[in-house]
């Protein structure tokens, strides 16, 4: 069998909702027996024939993990995966993935990169070559068949990624943030081309599943948006997008939908004990600090402070600052955590403290920042440890070991560097990179909290 049957071709969404993929209570854990991290917690999800589903969420919410579970690359720790009502075993041959980094073989030409997918299925060269050339033609890369990926622009490389995926006539096309490594204009062009192929029915694909952290992209392309949240990764909303293609970005209904998604994702500011989480070593959740540079946070607060009433709709702010939605939500999270703003009904409002901070001098900012982060459990814990330690010094290794139980290995180093960074800025402690020691400066060890 050269490749999966493509007899039925495109089926419109209205022609009955045959279920293609179904996930039941998927939980995915990482780590060793002693230290476990939940990447995805109890997610159930189904994708029907004819659907274009977007999985939307902040980084670390497990959306890419779900994509790998669906394609059979990752076996879930718990839960079941069904493909057309059959339990999935091993890699799903009906799924093709398009990767964020394109994942092309740099030593193969455009044509060979497409052909290799067919070769893997045992398609003879005589059939594979014309088919690959046809696809390359379809995506508008004719003339570049013999080019190597490094000769192409990002957008063209991703086109090859799409051609390779489509070469095997997959029933489901899984897109893992396919446009996020491209410049704005190439991404826009490629989105339009993909939608053309999809809506015109010129590819036999039955469903598309796209992982993204870009809110506007999800609303622009998908029929359904599944919104996820992190710590642990879970589904918090499942929205339909009842707009026909092509969609008008400036239409009020489109804007309203985006606003709605922003509101859902930003959530509401919670009481302090919920926001803060617990200390290292205690049971309960240690809150990861958002990866934000302080100088960026300062600039952002100054900007928000300029709006009338120090209050602004999150989506409008994103539009105005031309910021990536994922990044903006991280900034908001940091400001919220420090008590500089509150979020309610999709609006950011600066607190009096936030206003003061935005208007204060550099030294005053440091002191406000210091007061605020001393309230965070992780800094309370660290200062207490430093007080008890000999000469008020702790090696970074010690801190790393204590934190290792709370974070995924790949999260650990970023978290450590944020803690050191914030603490140094606030002058809560000092840090010597040569010896990798954190220590209280003699004066500050006597200052009460």
């Amino acid at each position: 069998m050269p490749w999966p049957k493509s007899d039925s071709g495109w089926t419109s969404p209205s022609s009955g909702a045959a279920r293609i993929v179904q996930l039941e209570h998927i939980t995915q854990r990482y780590g060793t027996r002693e230290r476990q991290f939940v990447a995805v917690h109890d997610v159930s999800l189904s994708v029907d024939q004819g659907e274009f589903v977007a999985l939307l969420g902040p980084s670390g919410c497990g959306k890419s993990t779900l994509l790998r579970v669906i394609s059979g690359l990752t076996k879930p720790s718990e839960g079941r995966v069904f493909y057309r009502d059959q339990p999935l075993r091993g890699v799903n041959p009906h799924v093709a993935i398009v990767f964020q980094s394109f994942a092309l073989f740099p030593w193969l030409t455009v044509q060979e990169n497409v052909e290799v997918a067919l070769k893997a299925r045992g398609v003879p060269q005589i059939v594979a070559t014309p088919r690959a050339l046809d696809l390359i033609d379809k995506i508008g890369l004719d003339g570049f068949e013999t080019a190597y990926p490094r000769e192409l622009s990002g957008g063209m490389r991703q086109k090859v990624g799409f051609a390779r995926a489509m070469a095997v006539n997959p029933e489901i096309l899984c897109l893992d943030e396919p446009f996020s490594a491209l410049d704005v204009l190439s991404a826009e062009a490629l989105r339009g081309e993909l939608l053309d192929l999809w809506t015109s029915g010129s590819i036999p694909t039955k469903a598309i599943l796209m992982v993204t952290h870009n809110i506007e992209e999800a609303v622009f392309m998908a029929d359904r948006i599944v919104i996820m949240e992190k710590d642990p990764g879970r589904v918090i909303a499942d929205l339909k997008v009842p707009l026909p293609h092509p969609r008008q970005r400036k239409s009020s209904i489109f804007m309203d939908l985006i606003d709605q998604v922003y509101t859902t994702m930003a959530g509401q500011t919670q009481p302090e004990n919920v926001e803060f989480g617990s200390q290292p070593g205690e049971t309960g959740r240690l809150r990861p600090l958002p990866e934000i540079q302080i100088s960026v946070l300062v600039g952002w607060l100054e900007r928000v402070n300029e709006f009338p009433g120090n209050r602004i709709d999150i989506f409008r702010l994103a539009d105005e600052l031309k910021l990536d939605s994922d990044y903006l939500l991280r900034l908001t999270e940091a400001a919220e955590l420090l008590g500089f703003c509150v979020i309610a009904q999709g609006d950011i409002a600066l607190t009096p403290l936030g206003e003061t901070f935005a208007e204060a001098s550099m030294l005053a900012r440091k002191s406000i920042f210091g007061v605020r982060i001393r309230r965070l459990p992780v800094f309370q814990w660290l200062v207490a440890q430093l007080r008890e330690a000999e000469e008020n010094r702790l090696s970074v290794d010690t801190v790393r070991e204590a934190l290792a139980a709370h974070f995924l290995p790949e999260e650990l180093e970023p978290q450590l560097s944020i803690i050191v960074d914030w603490g140094r800025y606030a002058e809560i402690f000092a840090y010597d990179d040569n010896t990798e020691m954190i220590y209280l400066e003699p004066a500050s060890s006597s200052v009460p909290l």
């Binding site: 980094s101 994942a103 997918a117």
Partner: protein
């Protein structure tokens, strides 16, 4: 084009693990079995007759080359197997990596006597010497290749692996389109390193003689030693010219084209300007006959072969055979483990036979050799630092000095040993001088090339800043140059010290002009034990040398390297 010469693997790993312990015991056990076999070796071994006629040189060169090639083919096969196993099996990795690491830092040449005597017990003399030389070259070539392959497997980008899984590549297709191309650059570079090291050991094996045991092999090394013995300057010249042309021809016709060709397998998506080039490859590509010729050969021969391989691999990996395979590795592991325990136990028992007087000889030998190694490296440092900085910072000088240095470096120091003997043995303290010189010749190049690479890597703006600040003389060296060179110097010294310890085996005890001469040293202790057939002493001296070098690596070089990486790396 700059090369950084380094054979130091996985230097980041500074802590001892149980794997290191097992690795050291494995070596001890192997040495014991070798010595055990050696007991049955004949007391006197007659060497081959070597003709000094220049007409014989092509034949001898052919012999030497074949030995290298055989060992290299075995090394590659071994590396693919070992590296794949270490990269794919977590439990095996915990043992295989430390073993590789220890083997890499061990002075391989110290095994030569044990291996030679061990083989002599079972095979006729020339066969034993042939095997021993191939084994020796193999042990000098295999480890860095295996590590290169392992490293490449571990660093396959996750998304490319997922492409292979998602599109259901067969093992062969994955090997061909993903794993092999990814490893290609590093395999070629390491092959060049391995061949350079291999020549050193081949020459040592071909000229090895102790007491009345003449282990020489017909080859270029033996020709040179015979010529030096006879004081035949003309023959020496012919021999050296042949050796040098063989090495240069291999470099120009094989390695450089391969390096230039393998450049296409780099993972970065950006075009770089200074790609490795090869006139030979370019001529080859331009030729109208060769290109299409090769293509048709590939189409007619390689592709059908590949198809067959593909099919056999597909049928092999069916799921039923998997469960049965689980039994054999564990049986093998058990047997190997028992052998290991037995060997270690017997080795320890044998060491108890070594008297305190002999231990004293070993101890003073270690100190004397360490001193020589130290002096050789000091001399190397004194001249390579200014020379390397001059070449590295000045591209005009580099354009002629670098090729000359590369050719000089390609002559294996052991091949020059007989020549040194001829020239210097009459000088008082001659052998001491020769030993240090041999160590120097074998090691200074690593240092020089590393210093050149380091100096060339100092950013232009940093140099301008140094001039703008008016830094001169010692201040300039102290603030701007030495810190930037530090990581390169350390990398060079690590490789150099390994080479220097190796050189002690051939340099400290020699037969020349019918007379035996020796100086105090661990190398001469090993050679003497081989000559008189004192096997416990041979085991004790070899093991001590291995242990000392491994310890120096761990406690001195590792730390310096970690320091260099952390404090002085520019990026």
């Amino acid at each position: 084009m700059m090369r950084v010469f380094s054979s130091a693997i996985s230097l980041g790993r500074a802590r001892w693990t149980w794997g290191d312990g097992v690795a050291l015991t494995t070596i001890a056990a192997f040495l014991y079995f070798g010595v055990r076999m050696a007991v049955r070796a004949p007391a006197a071994i007659e060497g081959p007759t070597i003709s000094l006629s220049p007409a014989m040189l092509p034949l001898y060169a052919g012999f030497s080359f074949l030995r290298m090639l055989t060992a290299y083919v075995i090394s590659i096969a071994f590396s693919l197997w070992y590296g794949t196993l270490a990269a794919s099996n977590r439990r095996a990795e915990q043992f295989l990596l430390p073993l590789l690491d220890v083997l890499q830092s061990v002075p391989i040449l110290s095994f030569l006597p044990v291996v030679l005597l061990g083989f002599s017990a079972f095979f006729s003399q020339n066969l034993a010497s042939e095997f021993a030389s191939v084994v020796l070259i193999f042990t000098s070539q295999a480890w860095n290749l295996a590590f290169a392959w392992y490293q490449a497997q571990k660093t396959v980008p996750r998304e490319l692996r997922e492409v292979a899984a998602n599109f259901r590549f067969s093992p062969w297709l994955r090997f061909r389109t993903l794993e092999l191309p990814l490893a290609a650059i590093s395999l070629v570079w390491n092959s060049v390193m391995s061949w350079a090291g291999g020549w050193f050991f081949l020459m040592a094996a071909e000229i090895f003689t102790v007491g009345n045991k003449d282990f020489r092999l017909p080859g270029l090394g033996a020709y040179l030693s015979e010529a030096a013995n006879a004081g035949n300057v003309q023959a020496i010249t012919w021999g050296l010219i042949t050796l040098l042309s063989l090495i240069v021809a291999l470099d120009q016709l094989l390695w450089r084209p391969l390096m230039a060709w393998s450049d296409r397998f780099k993972l970065e998506m950006v075009e770089t300007e200074d790609r490795p080039r090869s006139w030979f490859l370019e001529a080859w590509r331009r030729s109208r006959v060769v290109g299409p010729g090769i293509r048709s050969v590939v189409r007619r021969l390689v592709q059908p072969l590949e198809k067959r391989l593909e099919r056999s691999l597909l049928t092999e990996s069916s799921s039923e055979t998997r469960s049965e395979r689980h039994v054999w590795p564990s049986i093998f592991l058990w047997v190997a483990g028992m052998m290991l325990l037995y060997g270690t136990y017997r080795a320890a028992a044998m060491l108890l036979d070594v008297g305190s007087a002999e231990w004293q000889i070993i101890a003073s030998g270690i100190i004397a050799t360490a001193l020589r190694v130290f002096i050789a490296m000091l001399i190397a440092l004194v001249w390579t630092l200014p020379a390397g900085v001059l070449i590295g910072m000045n591209s005009r000088i580099a354009s002629w000095a670098q090729p000359i240095a590369e050719i000089a470096a390609s002559v294996p120091a052991t091949a020059l040993f007989p020549v040194l003997m001829l020239g210097l043995i009459a000088v008082s303290g001659g052998l001491n001088l020769i030993a240090v010189l041999l160590m120097l010749m074998g090691t200074q190049w690593y240092l020089l090339f590393n210093v050149i690479a380091g100096a060339a890597a100092i950013p232009e703006d940093l140099r301008h800043t140094a001039s703008a600040l008016g830094l001169k003389g010692w201040q300039r060296w102290k603030i701007a140059i030495l810190p930037a060179l530090f990581p390169y110097i350390i990398t060079g010294l690590i490789t150099a010290s390994g080479g220097a310890w190796n050189a002690s085996i051939v340099a400290e005890y020699t037969e020349f002009g019918g007379r035996t001469r020796s100086v105090t040293g661990i190398g001469s202790a090993i050679a003497k034990a081989t000559a008189i057939g004192n096997y416990p002493m041979l085991l004790a001296a070899t093991l001590t040398m291995v242990l000392v070098v491994v310890l120096i690596n761990r406690f001195l070089w590792r730390r310096l390297y970690a320091l260099a990486e952390e404090r002085f790396r520019m990026d």
